[in-house]
Structures are given as C-alpha cells and as structure tokens.
Subunit: 391 residues, 4 copies
C-alpha cells in the first residue's frame, strides 16, 4: 500500500526542500528588471552572495543550472589545448572532466576509487613536476554529491603554493556551499562554482561563479569565444544592480530570503548543524551494520551520506520500495555506483526531527526489503544527536 498523505520526505542530496519562507518570498509578481525596485534587489543579492561565499570578490549569478556555471568557469578561464589537473573523485568530477574535454582542454585526470576526495599530496607532486607551468588550473570538486566525500580545499591550496605553481584553483562547490564551510577568499580559490538548489535551499535555476582577481585577469586574457557566460558582460551592469539579459527574478526574490535565513542562523551554526546531522546519519549506518561509502573520516560530507548495499541487494529496488511505501526520495547510485549505493541527503531545510523521520524510513525500508541489517540505526542516531550538541 502506498502512503501519500503528509509531506513527502525529499532526502536526495539536492534539490533540497525549499523553506516556507523562501517559497513565500518567491510567490509574488515579477517586476520590471530595468526599474529601481529591481536595482535594489540586484544589489542585495549580489552583496549577499559575497557573504555566503565568504569573499569580497564578485559573484556572478546566471539563470542556469550548476552545469552552466561549470561551463562558465571553463570558457572564461581556459582555452582549447590548455592543460588542467583534475581528480576522479566521483561521478560529478568525471562529468566536469568530460565537459572540459569537450572544450578541448587536456585533462590530467588522476584516477580514484570514488571513496575519497582529491589528494593534496598528488596536487603538490604533479605541480612540482610541471616546471614549465603548462598546467593552467587545478579543478577540484569540494563536495562530491555522488559519493559523500569532500576534498580538503584549503590543503589543496597549500599544495599549490608549496609547489610555487601559478595554476588557478577552480572549485565545484555545487553541493557544498551553504552546508559545508567554503571560504572563497581565505582558501585562495580562484573560481567557486555553485547553484541554487542545494545549501541555498532554492528551487533549481540559478548558477553561480565567485571569481578572484586572478581568475578575472585570466578571463580577460582569454580569447575563447563566449557570450552568455562572459564574466565581463555580467560585471558591467551588475555594478548598478542589473544584468545583461533578463534575470530569473523570482528566484532572486527567493535568493534574497535564503541568504537572510543563512545569515540569521549564522554560517558557523549552519555548518555545525550539518555536521551534527551527518554524524547522526553515519551513526545510523554503523548501527545498521552497513558501510558508508566514504572511507576517509576527515573527508566525510556534511551534506549527504552514501551507503553501500550488502552484496546481492539492489539499491534502486530498495529506493523504489522506500518511495512507494514511505513516500521518501533517496538519492540513486550514479554511473558505476548504480545499484550499489543509495544516498541520504541531510542538507539545507533539515532539522533533527526531519532527519530522524528519514532515518526511520530507511530502517523500516531495510526491514521491509529484507536487506540484512541490525535494527540499531535509529537508536544510534539519537545517541549521536544527544552527544553531538553542547547546549
């Protein structure tokens, strides 16, 4: 029997649930995108984004998906034939690498087993080897949405510096921003890529690139043809709060409200909350006797947890049962992880009780699906939450 009463549990690692406050902020008439009211909105969201990216540098807002912001990063900073260093940390790193390849970039793609982040030691070694500075950029995924493993961006930065290498540091924080700490300026990132539908708690439809002065200079020197994604075209009207083409106004209304919510809670509190919920989730996985995909504790994602299925059990059959029976969406295993993992999102508009509801659904689902497990996951999560706070 299908239960369809009550709220759907949207526990995929994005799009994440949209808060009621954000919904209400978006639920209003569009305004003239060339008028004075829009200019105020534009200034507010452009400034507000800086706070969220922890930067004084400009943040570009595109009407696009996060994939569009990937492309913007490539076409502004790189040209066909350029060499870049990337890490096979998972499905999205692989997709970004494929996109780079489509643009004629030569990618040195360091292989990985999809169970941890990029290795700063390899960054340093590879760059130290590159004495001609042929490598134009190091491109790293901050929070791999397909695996639940993060890359330690600050350490990657140090590795680049250690090697005395001028490569740009381009970071995909599509699912990290607003949930996991991401310090564009302090960590010396050149481009941070993100989107609206993860930690920013909006519906999909906005892509972002925060750009350092060095990245901007690289873009100015780059002759690759581009138009929609061109940073300079954006930055000119942005000065007055406007955009070079019609922006996605209602999503900007929502963005203004989402930024306000994040800053009211406080970024450190937001990050701590995600860490607490993630720790409880991993405690649940351990309680069930199952395995978290990410192998490196210092790289556990605060955003999502990918769980390995016991051999002989299909993750997608399990997800379907959970959807049909408990009205909860879990994330599917992507590419080579298909059928082997399911992913639990615990990001954005999420609190302890909604997480416990979700974990109860997983535990009851494991039982209903006849998947070998112990019943102690939910209990372990509650224990974790109890000890994970000091109030």
């Amino acid at each position: 029997m299908t239960t369809r009463t009550g709220r759907h549990f949207l526990n995929i690692p994005g799009p994440s649930p949209v808060p009621d406050r954000v919904m209400r902020a978006m639920d209003r008439q569009v305004i003239d995108h060339r008028g004075p009211e829009f200019a105020r909105l534009g200034h507010e969201v452009l400034e507000g984004c800086k706070a969220v990216f922890q930067t004084k540098a400009p943040v570009i807002i595109y009407p696009s998906s996060g994939t569009g912001a990937w492309e913007a990063t490539i076409v502004n900073t790189l040209s066909p034939g350029d060499r870049v260093l990337m890490f096979e940390t998972g499905h999205f790193a692989t997709l970004w690498q494929k996109m780079a390849a489509r643009w004629g970039i030569e990618v040195d793609f360091v292989p990985g087993d999809w169970r941890r982040g990029a290795d700063p030691a390899i960054v340093e070694a590879k760059l130290a080897e590159d004495r001609e500075h042929a490598i134009k950029a190091v491109m790293v995924v901050h929070n791999e949405t397909s695996t639940g493993a993060t890359s330690r961006i600050a350490e990657v930065r140090r590795a680049i510096d250690q090697a005395g290498h001028p490569a740009l540091l381009l970071v995909d924080s599509i699912s990290g921003l607003g949930s996991a700490d991401l310090q564009h300026d302090a960590w010396g990132i050149d481009v941070t890529v993100s989107c609206s539908q993860k930690g920013l708690m909006l519906p999909p439809g906005l892509g972002f690139t925060a750009i350092s002065e060095k990245a901007r200079a690289a873009a100015k020197a780059n002759t690759l043809a581009r138009s929609y994604w061109d940073w300079e075209e954006m930055l000119k009207p942005n000065t007055d709060g406007f955009f070079p083409y019609t922006p996605a106004t209602n999503l900007l209304f929502g963005l203004r409200e989402a930024i306000a919510m994040l800053l009211e809670e406080g970024l450190p509190q937001v990050f701590a909350r995600h860490q607490r919920l993630a720790a409880a989730t991993r405690a649940a996985v351990q309680g069930w006797g199952l395995e978290v995909l990410c192998e490196e504790p210092s790289e556990f994602s605060p955003v999502l947890t990918a769980v390995l299925m016991p051999d002989g059990h299909d993750a997608d059959a399990f997800r379907k049962l959970v959807l049909d029976r408990f009205d909860m969406s879990l994330g599917t295993g992507l590419a080579k992880l298909a059928g082997r993992v399911f992913r639990i999102g615990h990001l954005g508009e999420c609190n302890e009780l909604s997480l416990m509801g979700a974990l109860s659904g997983v535990e009851m689902g494991l039982d209903a699906a006849g998947i070998p497990h112990q019943r102690g996951g939910v209990l372990a999560a509650m224990t974790s939450l109890r000890t994970g706070r000091d109030d």
Copy 2:
C-alpha cells in the same frame, strides 16, 4: 541551543498541519459571494461535507470556531430549563456542559475520571429511569481532545434505542471527524458538531453541524431567540449554494480541496491510517515505560495520545524543552491534567515518517529533560508500523 531550521513539527491535536494542496487552494483571490462561481463552490462544499459526515442530511457551515458549532447545536435544539444528559469525559465535555448551563440547560453531568469515554450502560439506565422523557438530549464527545479517549457513539445510540427514549443524540466530533470513523446517518446521530482545523486539515475558522430530520424538527419547534446560528436561515440560501451572510470564502476553497483529498484517499483508508499511527504511538509510550492516559483499549483515540508524566515531573517544562530544542509543539495538559500529561497529535496531514520524527523528538526530549524512561519507544513504534500493515 535552539534549532529553528527545517519545518516545525506541529504535533498538537489540532490545529493540525495544513497540506500544501490545501494551502495552494486557499491562496487565491476572494470571489463575489453572490455570483455564479460562488454558487458552484457552495454546492460543492455542501455536498462534499455530506460525504465526509457520512450522511444524506444537510451540513451547516459557519464562519466560526468549533465552539460556535457547539453553541449552534444548543440554541437550535434546546431551551432554558431543558434537561440533558452529559458525561464528564474530559475538559471539552466539561466546557460544553458549562456552555449548556450558561444557556439555562439543566445538565445531568455523569462524573468521570477523564480516562475513558461515555458509558453506554449509564445512558441506557438514565434514560430508562426517565419515564416522562424529560431528558431532551444526550450530549456526548466523540473524541475527547483533552484525553485521547473516544466514546462509542454507535453503542450510545443503541442504548438510547434500548431505553425506547426519544432524546436527541448530540455528538461533538470536533477532533474526530475526518480522522476517526463517524457515521452520522448509520449511527443515528441527530447533530454532529465539528470544525475545520482537525481531521479536515484546514486552518481554524469553520464550524459545522450535520443535522438529522429529527433535530431540524426540534429546532423548528424551538422558540429560543437566535439569529447567527439559526439553521433555517442557513438552509434557505444553501439550496442555491449561497449563505445568509458573507461566508469565509477562502476557507471554503480549502475545504473543497481537503474533501477531495479525503475522498481520493478513501475514508476507510484515512481511518485505518490514523489507527496505524495511533497504535505506533501507543507502542512508543509503552516502550518508554510510560502510561497512556486512556485506560480502555476499545476507546483509544486514533487522533491523539495523551501521555502521563512520571510523578514529580512537569509536563509543561518538558513540552517547553521539546519546543525550544527540537522545534516541536506538543499538546498541553488541560485543566486538571495541567502539568500531568502531554498530548501527541497524530492526525490529518501526517504519515509514518513524520510520526517517527515526532516520536524521536519525544524520546530525545525525555532524555534531555532527565525524565525516567526506557529508550525503546521509537524502536517499538517502528515494530508496530511494520506489523500494522498488510501490504
């Protein structure tokens, strides 16, 4: 530390959470309450209510709270000096009795310990004694919101019939309708009182009375002054889908949608769902080693569960902790139960995972408050849910 991110858990026994579908149905411009579009709306909700009350009799819809519908029942059917039989099943039965007394009704108020429903045997005995048929009505609360105990209305009806007594049967199903089975016609109820903000999943603001032919005849014969609540004044324009004074149009938009949702799910399925969630909640209470207030298993409420606090522990301090720390509202103990019980609502827009979230909050709250309990409640609830369905 207060967690205020994510959805508030509204687990009081009403107002209950409003489904998104109902919210969207109400979020629209008001219309001319004398125009043709309104007439269609009026017909739809007046007919739809009949399905929900399981009756062919008219249902009156007031812009009022449920208390208003109590008053409507009294002033239409009774006069000062009339005798009625009522049962002290809890706080709301007591309030209704007080209201009747204010209207000059002489109430034979059968005392009770607030841990069970009205006793059909007493109904039969009291009516059998009343050979002159001085008792004009038996007034019973179907689902006592203050205690979580129901009264067995069909048995009360049989008791009246057994006594061969012409008394009207007036039933408060304010928190029962739409959650607990309530058959206005089949159970021979003369007036069923209800409201919008419980099983109908709407915001508060509508009161209802379903009225039998016998009740209507009694009202016509009743000379007590009344105006706003007068049934005949309502029934005349209702024939054309209109109302004698401006109706609460946007709540009627929501009512139309809520009725559609209940009928799409199917009333038997709705009632079974409530029973399943209630059983899981009681299993949790037992798992914690705590006591359910309602003592009679055949009278357990499918709508809410009142839980007795261990001696020496204040329920309201516990509720405050749960609100501050887990952003969940639980129902307070009312009148003589103040401080001694808390109430868990599991009605309306509620499903298995949202219930598990709520029960986890209770369990973590008991722990945080240092209230003696066992940690097995959440686990027991999951076990109950597993066995409580046959799909």
Copy 3:
C-alpha cells in the same frame, strides 16, 4: 464571447481584493494557538486593531462574519424588551433591525428612502422626548453598503449629548472601517462593529467589536444568556494574547499584515485615497448622465457608489453582461433596490488605474447593453483624478 484572461475585476463593495502582501502573510502553516509564537501574534493584532479603530479601548476579534459581530453587540449590551432607536438607511440597517427584533428588542425604526444616512436632528428629537431614558441605544450604520450613503457619526454623537441622553451609541462600520474615517474614541462611539473583508482587505472570516468602557459596563450588567459572543470571556485570555477558543489563526496572520499596510500608508492618506477614487467615480456617473443613489453630498460614501439605472433597464441584466463580457463583478441592488441599482466598489486594494479599468468596463458595458448614456464618464473620472490631488 467571454473574456477570462487576466485578472478578474472584483468591484463589489466587499469582499474587496486581497493584496498580494496579505495573501503571502496568510499562506503559511498554522501554529499552536497556545504557544509563545501565537501570544506574540495575538498581542500584535489586538494592539494593531486599536490603531485602526482609533481607540484605546479593547477590540474583540471573533472568528465570524460581520453579522456575528452585529449579534455580539446586541447580546452583550441589550436584553429582550429594551428599546433602541435605529434608522432605515438601507438594506443592512434593515437587517440589523430585524436581528434586534429577533432578540426581542423593541426597535423604533425611523423610516428612510435609502438615499441618505441617519438624521442627527431626529436622533436629538427622539432622545429629547424620551425623558425616562427608556431608549437604551442608538444603532446606526456608518457606511450603508447597500446604498453608498454614510451617516455622520460625530454629529449623531453630538445629538445624543445635546439631548443629555445616556443611550449607548452602537455603530456598524462593517464597510467603513479602514476606508472611511472612523474615530471610535473621539466620536464617542460605544461599540463599533466591523469585519475583515472590506477596508481591512482580508478574506471574510473575522468579525470585530471595539467597545467603550460604558459598553463594557452595560454588558457586565446584562444578564442575557450568551457564550460565544461574551466579551468578558474574550477579554480575559486576550490579556495574554490568547483567545478563549481556537482563533482563525491564518486570518490573524493576514490581519497583522493588513494593519501594517494601513499604518505604513497612514490612515489619513488611506481615507484621502478613498475620497479621491469615490469622487472620480461620481464624476464618471455624472459624465454618463446617470444618477448616484445617495442624494446628500455630505454623505457620499468613499467606499462604494450605487448607480440608479434608467427606467426600463434592469441592473442585474447589465451586471451579468459586464461579468460575462469584461470579467468584472459589480454589486447587485439589494432588497427593494434589486434591479434598480448597481454598485461600484472602490475600496481597499484599489488604485487609480484599477479604478479606471473598472469605470471603463462600466462605460463599455453601458454601451454594449444599449443603456442610454453619454460617453463622457471615463473622461470625467480622469479629469476628477487630475484635480483631486495636489502633488
């Protein structure tokens, strides 16, 4: 052909269009009506209402229609057999008189031709005659929604004082409040009755009574049975921001926002805006060569304008044509005015351009219906608006 694209023009004299801001304020989850967040809401709306009623006295908020607030006024202050003075200023005055009669009140109902307000001279004469002070109250409709004529309440007050009579002054400002100046304290009103769906720009579902100390004392001394409407029962929990029974929470969310909007614009500005729109509407009527129902310029309503149809033409056929063809709702002629007048609402969420749209619809409708008229109404309204402002 029916045009149904674009916004419906709701130009009845209430319910009036709900502003988007108010819609968004209401479009949110209900909250625990016994919790701390509700207490804040309660305090805000109870205080805010005082500003709108221009009083320091308490304002009672009922989940009811305005008709309920009429009844509340009667049952709190009067008893069967009491004498009151009322004026037949139109349909609603007549309905209120009938309601009073149902409650056993003896009404001295001064006849009128429905083309002007209550006559202060008659008030003074009648009260001066009543040397035993048998008349308990003077009951006047501030803004007759059926006719578009106001009564001069301040002058009525002076007339009572002139006669040295202790009668209460009970005022229906159901469609006046928030649109026409109404000074509960300064004008010495004892009870002001109102509702949500007119100048307060909310959907229907709330009734109000502002009560003077004298009215409250009269109520305390009044032994008439009452419960739902009882002021004292309301005032007790109101002190803490709560209500004696479940309030219509989402309408209160809207009320908070509507009050904020009125105070942001400023009550004098709100009243001036209504006067300006009303003057433009009357200019249009004159421009068409038609007749405004209200005969007394000092009593023209700022809220609505009732227009007399030329002989031999049915107002409802005209209204139907306008609805079908231009998607605009105009107010019908009520009771003895049925078919003879149509009413144009220009209240609440209304501005110069939306009024011009409505007046254009009337002018095109008159043409389409073949009703004798001149085509200068819209032009005259624009001229009026031009001269009616000094910016």
Copy 4:
C-alpha cells in the same frame, strides 16, 4: 504623492504579469528530478510545448534566459566563418547579430530604420545572388520587442524557397510566442527561439528552441565545441521525460499550467485577443495625436506598441512620472531609441479592463507631464474595443 496601494501595473513588453493560476502551480515543493513524478512532468511540458510552437518537432527547454536560447541556436547550427543574413529591425536583432559576431559568424546585416520588420524581397534577392550557397542561415526576429514591429516569417520562408536556397531559417520569437501567431512547422522554420517571461506568462528563467529535422541534422554535422547548449545531449534523456542536468523544476510546474491555460483559451482566441488589445492601444495613440513607431500596418505587433515622444520631451522622464504617480511600469526606449519612445506591453495575462487601466494611466501621465496631446486616447480605445469584437 506616490500611490502604492493596489496592484502594480506591469505594462512592459515582458516580463509580463504572471497569472494567479501559474503562481499557485509553482508555489510548491521541488521534487526529485530523477523520480517517476518528474518523468510525468517532463513528458507533459515537452509535449505541451509542441502544441504552443505548433510543431511536431522537438522543443528544447533550457534553464536560461532567452539570450541563452539565442546562443544555443548559434552554437548548434553554425561555426566560425559561416555566413548568415540578418536584418537590423531593432535593438534585439542588433544584439543577436553582435552575439553571432562574437562566435565568429560573418553577418550580412541588412540595415534598417527600426520602424518595420525584415523585408522578404531582400531575403529573396540576397539569396538569389548567393549562387554558391555560402549563406548558411537567415536569422530573423519575429516580434521586435524594442520597436513593436513584426517580421512576416511565412513570407520570409517563401522568399527563401523562391530563391531555391538551402539556408536555415532561424527565428527569434522571444516575445512573439504565445501572443502572436507562430507556426513552426507550417511556416518552415528551422529553429524557433523563445523564453518563459512573455507570452508564456511565467517568470523569467526558461529558454526554448524548437528545432526542425534539418536544423538537427546541421547540428549533428557541426563540430563547434559546445556542451550546456548541445541539442543531442538534451534530446537523449528528454525521451524519458528527463534532462541531462538539473532542470528548473518549479518553472516547469508553472509551464505546465501556462500551457494548459493557453490551450484552454485556444491559440486562435489568444492571438485574436492580443490583436484586439493592440488595435485598441494604437487607437489610443492616434487619439492622443501621437505616433506609433512601427510604420507598416501589416507589421504592427500584437504584443507591444512603441510610441514616439513629441520632440523635446524625454520618454524616460515621462516613464518615471508614470511609475511614481500611477504605479505603472512602461518599457523604456532601447539603444538609439532611448528617450525617444516608450513602450506599452499588452501581452499575456492581460484583458480589456486591465489594458484600459494602463491606457488611462498613459493619458493621465501625458497630462501630468505636460506633454502635448489630445485627450481622446482612452475614448478611442474603448471605441476600438467595441468594434473589434463580434460577439
């Protein structure tokens, strides 16, 4: 004095007002973009778009502005060095030409005076001259948003055929689609470009390209690097109702509703309504003694009307006065038309009365600004509306 009560009149030529139905459809939780509910949504909007574009060919939906869809058209079908034929019909034609130039396309840009559409005779002549078929595409703007002049696309198609030339026909119908007749298949268009915020009545954030088999074949043969905009990448998952990257789900909810509204009204009725409103607007302009920018009656836009200011009067000062005083946004003059024209949008969620409100605002604004004009515009518009319908 600024009037800010009542609804803002958004009479720019897009973004156009969003209907309440569409707002409500979007105001809901996002869903899993890889789940079964999304697949149904995807199929519905992809099929529904075909009806609106009047095609059996696939329509690609991007999370982007219309500018993005321009770029998609160029990068899929053209390569650096390709020659195309374009017409300087206004600001947007010029912008598209500049974009093409940025992509290395050699544009034969036929000059124009911004007062009419593309000349089919020139198309035929130019193509007839091009015996080597060096011209790869004819790129035409269907409805020039900056001027209110349309190009006769069917005639352009015939001109291409007359010349026996294989050039692709690429059409920008960004502000035409859903308001002006546009027959992708019957008119032999190869790519039709559009967006969400004009005739589709949605907020901005979606770009569209409808593509013929010939265009698709050209794209497959085209080796220009592209990724985000690549048609084949889109078409693969579209088969199952999915997208290659996260789509703008909530805008798709709105799109489903907007398509339903257009088809319920009927496309011919939608187009006729726009023609009727446009004719009334031009009648008003004539009534004021002002000049419509578009000189060619067969090319008058049904979507917007650009009005020339009398010499010595600044259009933007006038627009500011209208915004401040009447709360209406009019379109600004773009590029070389800056200060010389203002534009009145009459598209999408618009009806006769809302148009009359807008035209009244222009007439009162002309008066308030002291701009020489006659006062007969509003009257002429009403006369036009009277004769422009046959019901």
